[in-house]
Symmetry: C2
Subunit: 335 residues, 2 copies
């Protein structure tokens, strides 16, 4: 009775009494002026009746396009990247693209370049800055590449989409300065990456000439690392910083724990700021003053750029995505 095999365009053609080519034209959507309205509807009806779905593998083989792009991020368990994915996936879906994630080591993938065994061929790649090492041995045959949060000058990317983290850093710094802070510690990411370099530069620039004193300490990307780094800087000899400016919300939460452990009240004795505005930031007490990074928007813009590159090879560099300071309860004037 019910054929196990899925119907092909040829089956639809037989059902509708036309040729396979006509079915392809109609289903491909480009039949205007080629096929009459009457035949077109007949084809569509036949397709519906049979439950026809085009075989994507065959289409891909024929067209050389897979309608699939890859997103490379360090770890999806980091909510920032999950949001990035969300935005990117939405735009991709709107343009009929599927998104496959790079199986990064942090997410359990193989350490080596997995493109050899990639199950799907790719039309293009959207990569976040953190994955620079991954891109080093990236060998996919020169497909279009769009980078996120990376140095526009230094890459083989068709174009680059960046968040305006420099402005974000400037806003935090000015916020702390306005509150009266003059001894500031920077809990910086212990990772080589363009965004973090930009942040450090922006912070230094914002503090320049204000008489504020800046100390920098680096930490890995975990809460515990943040706590340790914060304890180190808070216990260091000399006058204690009155504000702790962190490169991530996660680090800031670690710093919060360190402060509590040392008996410091936040924000009365110590102001702490984050970066990202994850769910985490408004979960803790006090809620974090932080820089909101519109990760979804970044993902959307990145994918939009990639799709447009894929469509007409016109690499247009979009403007930086604006970020905004969100003032909450973890900052106050120094004692």
């Amino acid at each position: 009775m019910a054929d196990k095999a899925r119907p092909t365009s040829r089956d639809v053609a037989r059902e509708a009494g036309v040729s396979q080519a006509t079915v392809s034209l109609v289903c491909g959507g480009k039949w205007h002026g080629r096929v009459s309205e009457r035949i077109a509807t007949a084809v569509r009806e036949a397709a519906d009746a049979l439950g026809y779905r085009p075989n994507l593998a065959a289409r891909n083989l024929r067209t050389g396009r897979t309608k699939t792009v890859m997103l490379i991020v360090p770890a999806l368990t980091n909510q920032y990247y999950a949001r990035l994915y969300t935005g990117a996936a939405r735009v991709a879906a709107q343009h009929g693209f599927g998104v496959v994630l790079y199986p990064s080591p942090a997410d359990g993938g193989p350490a080596r370049n997995p493109f050899g065994s990639a199950p799907a061929s790719l039309d293009g790649v959207l990569a976040s800055s953190m994955a620079a090492d991954v891109l080093a041995d990236f060998d996919d045959g020169g497909r279009p590449l769009v980078m996120l949060d990376s140095d526009p000058a230094n890459s083989r990317a068709a174009t680059t989409v960046n968040l305006d983290v420099a402005d974000g850093m400037r806003q935090v710094a000015e916020h702390l300065l306005a509150l009266g802070h003059r001894r500031i510690a920077h809990l910086a990411a212990g990772v080589e990456s363009w965004t973090f370099a930009v942040r450090s530069r922006a912070l230094a620039a914002a503090l320049e000439g204000t008489g504020a004193e800046l100390r920098t300490v680096r930490a890995a990307l975990t809460m515990d690392a943040g706590r340790h780094a914060a304890e180190t800087v808070l216990r260091a000899p000399g006058r204690r910083p009155t504000a702790l400016l962190c490169d991530f919300d996660v680090l800031a939460v670690g710093a919060l724990k360190a402060a509590r452990r040392l008996g410091l009240r936040v924000p009365a004795d110590l102001s702490i700021t984050g970066f990202d505005d994850l769910t985490l930031a408004s979960a803790v007490e006090p809620e974090l003053t932080t820089v909101r990074l519109p990760a979804e928007e970044a993902g959307r813009r990145g994918m939009t750029a990639l799709v447009s590159v894929l469509a007409d090879e016109r690499p247009v560099r979009p403007a930086d995505v604006p970020v905004s300071l969100v003032v909450r309860g973890s900052t106050a004037p120094p004692a």
Copy 2:
């Protein structure tokens, strides 16, 4: 000079002085007893020299397999599902499968069934329980389906992989009972789903005959909803519950905020427990006593099951994944 076009197996064959079929055999790995060692190495050398990569679209078309599976989860921005993905992706990669995510509405996908426009065909599907509504109009032509956290009796799944949430709930309940709590409120998920039904039943069963009093209030899956629900139950007339048992860490964090707002100390005046053990759980103060759900392990087992179904059609139902109670600072004996 450098051909823009990627080399095909035929190019490799010409280079190595053999037929295309031989190249296919060698690259496919199934040449033992068919091709001599000498020729095989020659083929591999030629392939390396030309930088040959098999065209996946052609392979898919020929074999009818795509080596791609879909993972359906409600929202990747929920860390639980991100972890689930991580585990699933690792196993998939080990077996040469790629994972494409269902573009769920929460992640920005189209509300309707996207399989019509899916860019990649699928060999199978791994779906989390929450996505029951999605599966309703799931029309992919009867590909193998493995479910996560759903009713084993009631589904068209080849098999089902579940976390032992009933045991988790029992452990929480016994923990609270052992501490002396007798008035307990359950902040339950306001979503129809098998796991939550199981949790509620397990809780009721654990409290049965202990003289403990149970009140249930439902909340949507956000921190704010948790806060509101907790305020409602804490302000209700009659004697206030001494423990708040939440179906999610996120709800528990909301409850924490509610307690703080009402001037209740946690855990002195009110014990709160979560479920999931997300990063969030150990970020807040006090850190949450919660049930650790090994999401990665669940993803691994689910994908393992799917892969084995795909390989030999042998639907083996794995044992429930054990969960464990993590006692932290948010629970204590009642005042």
